[in-house]
């Protein structure tokens, strides 16, 4: 038996220790763990059992929603997923509009602006993923590249919304502001630049013999397992299952833009890298199309909702979108008051947490950080 003193002298946690095996607690203060603990049992150099221990950053976001009205809920809901703040806003706004019964009044231009910002955020989030994956592999160049190239889109997002990370741009009824002057040209230029950069990323990460050595065939998730465990997002698609909410259940004019859903058969760590690189390319394509559509488009971007209109009728609403990490959905129940009666957030990281024990089994200790990060698990998002 080994003991971990969580609070010295007050609460002692008991970890089961098997004969001849070592139990190691990675986190919540290990450089590779985040606000999250992973209890792994190792036999020599091979992991025999991995037990995720989430809950260190639970913020009570769902409870907080019950005391704020539909507009006041916007800024704090972004906090769990700062890297993909438009990703978590999108389903909330869709569900809120449904329950406020203003779904049909949202202007077309606002719908395109929402797609634009969501795709910006998908690219930003995937670049962050690549950066951390690279540094776990000991590759500082891709870390710096991704962090630098993220800035290109973050600056554009700041131009559009006024904020670099947490935009609070979506509001029930539309978006906060219109396209600034010069935005279209700069976005097209940025898309061209990032397209050329993606080739270099591919060469550095995928066509690199040492990267292949490290990641090919490591942490394999079979398609059957992925479906059974309820994996979502790029992790599911990297296992060969073509499932993208943008295609399956199109929302907010996603059916008017052209893109395809990349999938890979292997389901290993390398394919989870490749799928993100492909998705960045697809997102850049969507951004280009949307920006060309926005160019010269006239009309309002917001159907203003205030006063009594913010009071929802009793009822319920559900909306789901494809965030950067996978399917994100909101379920809102209203009892007719200014604030929701109950809000339930279903985040992709929470669903993908179930993959951790399966993926880490029979993996070498040195591979634990890269396999763990390859599912893009974000503790704050899972704990909400």
């Amino acid at each position: 038996m080994s003991y971990y003193q969580l609070v010295p002298g007050v609460y002692v946690e008991e970890l089961p220790e098997k004969e001849g095996k070592i139990t190691v607690s990675i986190g919540p203060q290990h450089p590779g763990s985040g606000h999250f603990r992973l209890i792994i049992t190792i036999d020599g150099d091979v992991v025999v059992d991995a037990d995720p221990d989430p809950g260190y950053v639970h913020r009570g976001e769902e409870k907080m929603c019950e005391t704020r009205d539909y507009i006041q809920n916007i800024p704090h809901l972004e906090r769990p997923v700062v890297l993909d703040s438009a990703g978590i806003q999108f389903p909330y706004i869709l569900a809120a509009e449904e329950i406020l019964d203003i779904k049909d009044k949202v202007p077309e231009k606002a719908k395109y602006l929402r797609i634009l910002l969501a795709e910006f955020n998908r690219v930003i989030s995937h670049f962050y993923f690549l950066a951390i994956q690279a540094i776990f592999l000991g590759h500082s160049t891709v870390l710096e590249w991704s962090m630098a190239d993220r800035e290109v889109l973050m600056d554009l997002a700041a131009m559009l919304t006024g904020a670099r990370v947490t935009f609070a741009y979506f509001v029930p009824g539309g978006v906060r502001s219109d396209v600034p002057s010069g935005f279209v040209d700069q976005t097209l230029k940025a898309v061209g630049y990032l397209r050329s950069r993606m080739k270099e990323y591919w060469r550095m990460l995928v066509d690199n013999p040492f990267m292949k050595m490290r990641m090919e065939g490591v942490g394999v998730l079979k398609a059957k397992d992925a479906i059974e465990l309820g994996a979502v997002g790029p992790n599911l698609r990297a296992s060969g299952v073509e499932y993208d909410i943008r295609k399956v259940d199109p929302y907010s004019l996603y059916d008017t833009v052209e893109f395809h859903v990349p999938t890979y058969k292997e389901g290993d760590t390398m394919s989870r890298i490749k799928i993100r690189l492909d998705e960045i390319n697809e997102s850049l394509g969507i951004i280009e199309q949307v920006v060309r559509k926005l160019d010269g488009m006239r009309g309002p971007v917001r159907h203003l909702v205030k006063g009594a209109a913010l009071r929802a009728k009793p009822g319920e609403a559900y909306a789901r979108t494809e965030a950067a990490r996978g399917m994100m959905s909101f379920y809102i129940i209203s009892d007719g008051g200014r604030t929701p009666y109950r809000v339930k957030v279903d985040t992709p990281s929470f669903r993908n947490m179930k993959l951790i024990p399966v993926l880490l089994k029979d993996v070498r200790v040195a591979d634990v950080p890269i396999v763990f990060w390859s599912i893009d698990y974000w503790p704050v998002e899972a704990d909400r």
Partner: protein
Amino acid sequence: MDAQTKDVRDSVSFWLIISLVVILIIGWVVEGDVLIDFLVDLVSGPQVLTNPLFLSIVFPGLLYVSIVAAVAIYVERKIAAKIQIRIGPQYAGRVEGILQVVADGIKMAAKEFVIPRTVDVTFFVAAPILSLTVGMLSITVVPFSPTTVIFPFPVNLLLFFAIVSFFPLTALLAGWASNNKFSLIGAARALFQQASYEIPMLISALAPALLAGSLRIEDIVMAQKDMPFLFPAILSAIIFLAAALAETEKHPFEIPEADSEIVAGWMTEYSSMPYTLFMLAVYVKMISLSTLFTDLFLSGWLGPISLPPEAWTVVKSWIVLLIFLTVRALFPRIRIDQMLKMGWGSMLLLSVAGLFLAIALGMVVGL
């Protein structure tokens, strides 16, 4: 556990080691008339360049190695920054941050040397000193010119590898004395790594030795009068470079220090100057390996234009050093089991193949 630390000055054995070193230095420098010889040579002019004290303190000894190491650290950071679309050191020294290494050195020297309560103090303190000593010893046997070698020895190629193979032992000493899981894993990885790269390295160094018919580095260089051994022994040279990267624990073989897995490997518990000594030892090792590579494959101090022989060696070794420093930005870290598989598989086979290739090509070109 409370954060008590031990004072190294309480340890008797530490003072024993220090006094032994002091006695040795006094015995050599003062009693052996080395100092007087040096002063006499200094007055008499160029003769000083071959004086043993000058060789060991100034060139190619302590001073040269320290300066090149400092420049190498700066250049490494700048190259990595350029590849990674960053700026790199920028402020210290006003011009492109050229004094960054000095600033870092002062900072490191000013830090407290934390000795955790659970460590074995004597070996914990001795390990970095030994590591740098081994590094400096390795530079003593590498000739920069027929006369510029600190320790002339008939089979100095063998002696070099004998010295260099002590490095993982100092890592083990540091890791074991640290009494820490991460340190011990790092030290074990360093030993495993040595077991994988050393044999390919020795075999690929054998190719120029066979072509020259001697284990004396001076003879090997003189045998490259017509053609550097890089051309017949190209495969051996590549394997030697790869093994040298593994020896210096640089990417993609930075396995014993893997910071995302085992914090800082066998250096986890070190801080302040002892940590600096470890870092310096790594760069010294890099300098001596690149100089050896120059001697074995790039015809050492022989060059097309007549320059001082040392200048050729220095310039060529810096070019080799640049390769060491650039590779870091391109590759990820591989796993220790992959390293072992590579060392005992493809690297070993290729080094043997390179040996035969070198002999065959040597016969063709008539070396």
